[in-house]
């Protein structure tokens, strides 16, 4: 079955420290991978995507993600966290067609 796993419900990090939000997937073939962020009472906002090519993808607001095919992972990273990064983060995979499978989400808390 196709699935996306975000193993951490919550990630806590101090402002200025690097952050990582983990994502692994189980999809056949070569999927398209996405990260979205959601602030309270708002829709999801696209951060970045991996389609093909360089395994390190750079996106909005200083975020980047590393695609690892052997580990079927697509972890979201940022070198220096900001308090304003506190939000709900969703990893998503597009296995084909218009279907997108979202992970359960990881809540990021950045403490000042």
């Amino acid at each position: 079955a196709q699935s996306v796993a975000q193993p951490e419900d919550q990630v806590n990090v101090a402002e200025g420290n690097p952050l990582t939000v983990k994502c692994t997937y189980s999809v056949s073939g070569n999927p398209y991978l996405f990260w979205y962020v959601q602030y309270p009472n708002r829709g999801l906002q696209f951060l970045l995507k991996y389609i093909t090519g360089d395994n390190l993808v750079k996106g909005s607001y200083g975020f980047e993600a590393e695609f690892n095919k052997s580990q079927t992972s697509f972890h979201l990273k940022k070198p220096s966290a900001l308090v304003s990064d506190s939000a709900l983060y969703f990893c998503a995979v597009g296995p084909g067609g218009f279907k997108t499978i979202f992970g359960a989400g990881t809540r990021l808390f950045v403490k000042a």
């Binding site: 009472n41 829709g43 995507k49 218009f98």
Partner: protein, 112 residues
Amino acid sequence: DAMVIQNPRYQVTQFGKPVTLSCSQTLNHNVMYWYQQKSSQAPKLLFHYYDKDFNNEADTPDNFQSRRPNTSFCFLDIRSPGLGDAAMYLCATSGTGPYEQYFGPGTRLTVT
């Protein structure tokens, strides 16, 4: 410069009273989606349109219907809302291909 607009942002309806949520887009995207999101969980796809071609998810209840009269607008009709239908409803659009989705701010539906 809003790209995906949802109205209303908050909707209160009574148990069993039909309700319509609306979505419009200025992106001229072919694909429009409706998602249901409960309590910061992963968005659940209800259906999508590729142009006028309607695609219903297998587990979407018959109580949920949709209309897309033109490229810009899409409506979600809930024929007889139950208490379990209280949720955030998200509209999204995308181009064709492995493109990211653009989400509206959502409509929070309360059923009394």
